[in-house]
Symmetry: C2
Subunit: 187 residues, 2 copies
């Protein structure tokens, strides 16, 4: 066996996620990634030979996996709708540090018609989230069309609450939304 890694890939990818989602792709420098991971540039290139672009790609992939394993899977479980929503609340609270962290789907998204590096993954995650959430509303007795409207509205409220929370420097909008989640969906 060769030398041990000074940071396991789990913690490593988590450090990378935190930089990219707060700064966005272009604003993220290797210097920031060095500081966040405790690894020097050359070491980062050893693990990610294609550099910054590869790091961002693996970050997006890790987020996608986390979303599927946690958010989506729970929303598609066979628990009662109210329970699934309660579970979603806790996942979102954790994911966004109760409103202090931006959403990476927002900060890594690119301008219209620019074929951004992560456009495909971002679109796919937003649609999967909306679709699985609509399923919960549908299971609670609403028809398909109304379920889709409510699900998409809650996704917009979620993204908007993070934008507003960051903009005014208060976690309140995000926290308030979480407390109203069930009402917004099932009322």
């Amino acid at each position: 066996m060769g030398r041990q890694a000074t940071i396991d890939s789990e913690k490593l990818i988590q450090a990378l996620i935190n930089v990219f989602r707060n700064a966005g792709y272009e604003a993220t420098s290797l210097g920031m990634l060095e500081k966040a991971t405790g690894l020097k540039k050359a070491s980062l290139y050893h693990r990610f030979p294609r550099g910054k672009e590869q790091m961002a790609q693996e970050v997006i992939t890790a987020v996608d996996t986390w979303m599927k394993d946690n958010i989506i899977a729970t929303l598609r479980s066979d628990a009662p709708p109210a329970e699934r929503i309660e579970s979603l609340k806790h996942s979102l609270k954790k994911l966004y540090s109760n409103g202090k962290q931006a959403c990476i789907l927002n900060t890594l998204s690119s301008p219209w018609g620019s074929n951004g590096l992560f456009s495909k993954e971002i679109k796919s995650m937003l649609l999967a989230f909306t679709d699985s959430l609509a399923g919960v509303v549908s299971d609670a007795g609403y028809d398909k069309k109304e379920s889709c409207i409510r699900a998409e509205r809650v996704i917009m409220l979620l993204q908007g609450s993070l934008v507003v929370s960051r903009g005014i420097g208060s976690q309140r909008p995000f926290r308030d939304l979480l407390n109203r989640l069930d009402v917004e969906l099932l009322n």
Copy 2:
């Protein structure tokens, strides 16, 4: 009189706005600004001696003025609430090119606790927008607390619809929200 400017400051600032709001501050390069304005670096420095930072500052100021003169002033007029909302609809449609353009309050905002360059202005604009919108709801007969909740909710829906529209590459979420604006505010 000296030589004439090849681009008047009105068009110039508009070109700068379009770059900054689509790319964000860090990702915006002088090269992009050269292309968008048709002016060379040195000419941009002639008009904005403190460079990129000053350009972004004047961009934010211009947006702030536009918001006050259009959105806020209209929302605070003495027209019937339904008319003011209808007017808001058209302002937003124009401001965001019917959902194709991101909101500069989102793309220029900085991570939590980072004392971003534009934090003060962004917060002030979000609060003024929310407050004036709450006034409309209040004039329609709702009590103060409920008016604030509805106003903030619509601001979040607006920001969220722009995030989702960009994320999935469709103007539909933004357009749908505009069509439901009056319902969301006045029920």
